[in-house]
């Protein structure tokens, strides 16, 4: 195996003109350290409130539904209402995230199971790391409090994000992830899922169909405070 590797590297080195001087090395080091961005979209050069609106608009454009609540305590009722309106059972797997643990679910009709989702869970609830206004994209960071399968196994995915976590661009998100992980021993989460709308395909006779392998429905709850 390492023989193949050596042969490949030899060909790569032979094929790409390289300058081994210190200036070139410094340029690379600076680029890495500075996290130099490419062109940023104009549409996100707006204030935070407008970013939240832009996020909701873009998420709805890709078939997600979005609802707003004033505080995390309203979450159980908001989710129960959503499920009732879809004629779905008030039963869900929920990620063991501290923010979700802190909520009193017993006061609502919701029955939540705090664990990774099983194959037959119809509804999954989890907590976003951030949301990108640019394209209405959710960002989920895997970890003990956020099993990545929650984003894919249940038919209905309900994601909770705070308004303050809605940011402009993808690059803003990586900056946040890097600083959130600083000191944790891992530069970045094992899995980062960027989710833009529901599961879809055009593979069958070129017509758009949703809910292929991932969720058929994506509901986003934006918590305005905290």
């Amino acid at each position: 195996m390492s023989e193949a590797r050596d042969a490949i590297f030899t060909r790569v080195r032979g094929g790409i003109p390289r300058s081994d001087d210190a200036a070139a090395r410094r340029a690379v080091a600076e680029r890495l350290a500075g996290h130099t961005r490419g062109l940023q979209p104009q549409r996100i050069a707006i204030d935070q409130e407008a970013l939240v609106d832009l996020f909701a608009e873009n998420a709805q454009a890709v078939d997600a539904t979005v609802s707003f609540i004033n505080s995390a305590g309203d979450l159980p009722d908001a989710i129960a209402d959503y499920l009732r309106s879809r004629n779905m059972p008030a039963q869900a797997a929920i990620a063991p995230h501290p923010d979700l643990d802190g909520i009193d679910w017993s006061a609502s009709t919701m029955e939540v199971h705090r664990r990774a989702p099983k194959a037959d869970d119809r509804i999954g609830i989890n907590r976003c790391f951030a949301a990108v206004a640019e394209t209405g994209t959710l960002v989920m960071a895997s970890g003990p409090d956020s099993p990545a399968t929650m984003n894919f196994l249940p038919e209905t995915h309900i994601a909770v994000v705070a308004a303050s976590e809605i940011i402009g661009s993808y690059e803003d998100m990586w900056d946040r992830l890097r600083s959130a992980n600083r000191g944790s021993g891992e530069a970045l989460p094992r899995t980062v899922n960027m989710i833009t709308g529901t599961s879809r395909t055009g593979d069958i006779e070129q017509t758009l169909q949703t809910g292929v392998h991932g969720p058929k429905a994506l509901h986003i709850v934006v918590v305005k405070e905290g």
């Binding site: 193949a4 490949i8 060909r11 790569v12 032979g14 094929g15 790409i16 003109p17 680029r31 890495l32 996290h35 130099t36 961005r37 490419g38 062109l39 979209p41 890709v62 063991p96 664990r115 990774a116 194959a119 394209t135 994209t137 895997s142 970890g143 003990p144 099993p147 990545a148 399968t149 984003n151 894919f152 196994l153 993808y170 690059e171 990586w174 891992e186 530069a187 970045l188 989460p189 094992r190 899995t191 980062v192 899922n193 960027m194 989710i195 833009t196 709308g197 529901t198 599961s199 879809r200 395909t201 055009g202 593979d203 069958i204 169909q209 809910g211 292929v212 392998h213 991932g214 969720p215």
Partner: protein, 287 residues
């Protein structure tokens, strides 16, 4: 059909020991692999089984996360017209302490298979291709003949460069010829890959190395001889179209023709309607 596929494949995902995916990008800065899907199939494949193996060509390596995001902004827009595909997933290893799911082992296989040989060659730019498929949608030839006619994984303009690049020109020297060189592929390519230039390169190489069949070379030489004598060329073409339209008048097409057997074996040749463009032009501008 979709519901069945969901049920049957879901079971396979849950049963499998090993999940094998490709990767759209490999990020040098962070060691992450990236897959982009609309279905979520790639994610179930890499999350549920015990082992995740990602297999990707070495040209998928992108320097930094920021560079990757720049490319992400053009990928879905060029591929399907979406702003972003449904699922973009960055993986950086196996299950960590406390994780409730994810593969126990994560293994990346880097595939060369001819790619490193392209570096420094006239077709090295094709290594930038992100397989968005935009050039396929823009290509009038692809639009007529469809993907299977290209006889390999990659069809359309990108296939006409990639297949001979990786498999060798002798395996696919007809592909670079299946183009009118209209240039639309280059115009729409988000990675600015000069496809027509590379097609021309392969055509030259084909002739230089004597791969082009003798009959084709003689035919082209004959055509060039006529084409450099406009008066004669016009006389010959109006004679030929006249004869063809006379014989083809009844059916409007030919299902067999001398010297065009390779064409008529699989499809009809439409018969010309009588007058060449040049002669019509001359007649109309007179009246």
């Amino acid at each position: 059909m979709l519901a069945d596929a969901r049920i049957v494949l879901r079971e396979q995902f849950l049963k499998a020991d090993v999940g094998i995916t490709g990767a759209n990008f490999l990020i040098a800065e962070t060691g992450q692999t990236v897959i982009v899907t609309n279905e979520g199939n790639g994610d179930l494949t890499q999350l549920l089984p015990r082992v995740h193996i990602a297999l990707a060509g070495i040209e998928k390596v992108v320097p930094t996360l920021e560079d990757t995001m720049t490319i992400m902004r053009v990928l879905a827009r060029s591929a399907t017209g979406q702003e972003m595909s449904s699922y973009t997933t960055f993986s950086a290893g196996g299950r960590r302490k406390g994780d409730l799911d994810g593969p126990e082992a994560f293994h990346v296989v880097l595939l060369d298979n001819g790619r490193s040989k392209l570096l420094g060659s006239p077709t090295e730019d094709i290594l930038r291709c992100i397989r968005c498929g935009c050039c396929l949608n823009a290509c009038p030839v692809y639009g007529k003949i469809g993907g299977h006619a290209y006889g390999s994984t990659y069809s359309g303009p990108v296939g006409a460069v990639l297949t001979p690049s990786l498999a060798g020109l002798s395996e696919a020297h007809h592909l670079p010829n299946a183009s009118s060189l209209c240039g639309r592929c280059e115009e729409v390519c988000p990675m600015r890959i000069p496809i027509p230039k590379m097609l021309r390169h392969f055509r030259e190489e084909e002739v230089a190395s004597g791969m082009a069949p003798a009959s084709a070379r003689r035919g082209i030489a004959l055509w060039a001889w006529f084409a450099s004598r406009p008066g004669l060329y016009r006389t010959m073409t109006s004679l030929t179209t006249g004869v063809l339209s006379l014989f083809g008048r009844k059916r409007g097409r030919f299902s067999s023709l001398p010297m065009a057997g390779a064409w008529t074996a699989t499809r009809d040749l439409a018969s010309p309607q009588g007058k060449s463009f040049q002669s019509q032009w001359a007649r109309r501008s007179k009246s």
